[in-house]
């Protein structure tokens, strides 16, 4: 029962957030679109002529763009695959009765709270480094040649590091969902003679379909913007072997100071992210009605 006065009050209470977010989104995004149409390089003072879609053509015909796009897809896809499968297995395990469940759970979730620069550097130096890293020591102990992960398999190494960070998120959400599963249904199926695998496929997995979709969509949003991990480990190299779209735009913008091309790249990144966002928003919107 909302009176007219409370409606007005409500509007006044909502508007600061709306105005702030509008300013945060609309103004910079408008500027990005505007810059993307100019020949604008911070190293070249002088006029900034309007060049239409030239920057887009320049950015998209750059061989690095295709490479970055493929890397972005591999990075997002690889991490999703590992975290979803690993997350389901871990959630199944943590859902079983075991001693010290709380402590195990805490250990599994911990990586999510480690800041990206720390986890990337720790993996880079303490584990993947061929001379002093643990994997290097292990290889030598077994009489093998140590493998230089970040030089010879940079993207795969990044997928590993990022998966370590996001596996807890997938596990936590799938575990939360699994715990809301009706146990009696599982027990009834067990009595009817369904084995563990069939119970999993026909009861647990369908129940997890929705949370899995949520994990995929939310992780995709974050994974498209992976930056710090690349920044501190490979700087996108060797060559562009581990450059994703975000990092390429960063290089174009703040290392080459090409505002025009960087902005064109930014607009492309926004469009790509929006494709994913639309699906996520639709799911969340449906949830709001309930």
């Amino acid at each position: 029962m909302a009176t007219k006065a409370s409606r007005i009050a409500a509007r006044a209470m909502i508007s600061p957030s709306v105005v702030l977010l509008l300013g945060w989104m609309a103004i910079p995004l408008g500027m990005t679109i505007y810059f993307s149409l100019l020949r604008y390089n911070l190293l070249m003072p002088g006029p900034k002529p309007f060049v239409g879609l030239e920057n887009y053509a320049f950015f998209m015909t750059n061989p690095a763009f295709t490479e970055a796009l493929v890397n972005t897809l591999l990075l997002v896809g690889g991490v999703l695959l590992i975290t979803i499968i690993g997350g389901i297995l871990l959630a199944l395990l943590l859902d079983l009765p075991l001693w010290g469940q709380g402590v195990v759970r805490i250990m599994v979730i911990a990586p999510f709270f480690v800041m990206p620069t720390v986890s990337a550097l720790v993996w880079k130096n303490m584990f993947l480094n061929p001379v002093n890293g643990l994997f290097g020591h292990a290889a030598r102990a077994l009489g093998l040649q140590p493998f230089d992960f970040l030089a010879d398999a940079p993207l795969a190494s990044l997928i590993g590091i990022v998966s370590w960070q996001w596996l807890p998120f997938a596990t936590l959400i799938l575990l939360t969902a699994m715990q809301s599963l009706d146990r009696e249904q599982l027990e009834a199926a067990e009595m009817d003679g369904a084995n563990a695998l069939r119970r999993f496929i026909h009861i647990t997995l369908p129940h997890l379909a929705r949370p899995m979709t949520v994990v995929v969509l939310i992780q995709t949003i974050f994974l498209l913007s992976i930056f710090a991990e690349i920044f501190v480990t490979t700087s996108g190299g060797p060559g562009n072997a581990s450059t994703n779209l975000t990092y390429l735009i960063y290089k174009e913008s703040l290392l080459s100071f090409d505002v025009g091309a960087g902005s064109a790249g930014g607009v492309i990144a926004v469009i790509l992210a929006n494709i994913v966002a639309i699906f996520l928003m639709r799911m969340i919107g449906r949830n709001l009605d309930r």
Partner: protein, 276 residues
């Protein structure tokens, strides 16, 4: 409901659970070990590392060689400041949307969420240039503002999902008893909303503390929080394992502890109520 499980089976579960838990936790455990070793011992083979002498020297060196607490303080100000400002703006908005929903409330909520999905790199240049023009590059003010905007949609959403669970009947009853808007908020709503606000605060401090896109791009030396400070160890000449470990452990410890308390809120906050 606890299922009856045979003891041998539980032993197998427990062994598997602990093995995998320790495996995932191992990198954190390992930096904890290395942080108490000398620089020379930290790069030895693992068994030799464990056998070497324990020392606190790295913790002292991290502070004396670089202003560690300065960066720590930056992290504190940026994460607490942005969260406090965000709550200030978001609490009224979420309250209004939860209790006086209008026709467009759902659209506004979804639109707010959509701003969170904007890839930061899409607005990197404008924000960078605006900060440069205003002389705000490498200042905490800029980062507090940016971080508040980055997390505002999450704050509003989380608060909204909590506020929505407060029964509106209670407000009706308070109104019947003659409570005005101010009393309604102060004495009825706030006490019931405190747990929700606290969880929102916790999650947002964590997110702001760990944020590493804007902090890396908008700071240099003065305003650099721990995320950016740790990144300075990435240069090849910075292969100081013991010091890196000590600095890292101090940087993640407060958040690890907070994180353990906020597992449930994390699910709610980061899935925008889609999974509870």
């Amino acid at each position: 409901m606890a299922r009856a499980v045979s003891t041998p089976r539980k032993i197998v579960n427990t062994a598997a659970g602990w093995a995998i838990g320790l495996l995932i936790f191992f990198p954190i455990l390992w930096i904890a070990v290395l942080s108490f070793k000398s620089e020379g011992d930290a790069i030895l083979a693992p068994l030799d590392v464990l056998a070497s002498a324990w020392t606190f020297e790295s913790y002292g060196l991290v502070q004396s060689r670089s202003d560690y607490f300065g960066h720590f303080w930056n992290s504190v100000i940026i994460s607490l400041g942005s969260t406090a400002l965000g709550l200030l703006v978001a609490v009224p908005a979420a309250w209004a949307m939860a209790f006086v929903p209008g026709r467009r409330t759902k659209d506004v909520l979804l639109w707010m969420l959509s701003t969170k999905m904007l890839p930061p790199v899409g607005v990197l240049l404008p924000i960078y240039l605006i900060c440069q023009q205003l002389g705000l590059l490498d200042t905490r003010v800029a980062l507090v503002a940016v971080m508040m905007m980055v997390n505002l949609p999450i704050i509003v959403w989380m608060l909204y999902t909590y506020f929505r669970e407060i029964p509106a009947d209670i407000l009706e009853a308070a109104r019947m008893d003659g409570a005005g808007l101010r009393e309604e908020v102060l004495f009825v709503l706030l006490p019931m909303a405190v747990p929700g606000i606290a969880s929102t605060m916790l999650l947002n401090i964590i997110l702001a503390w760990n944020e590493a896109f804007w902090t890396l791009n908008l700071t240099a030396a003065d305003a650099a929080p721990l995320t950016a400070f740790i990144a300075s160890y990435s240069s090849p000449e910075g292969l100081f394992y013991a010091k890196l470990s000590a600095a890292s452990l101090m940087a993640i410890a407060p958040i690890l502890i907070m994180g353990w308390f906020s597992q449930k809120q994390l699910v709610r906050g980061l899935t925008f109520g889609a999974v509870k």
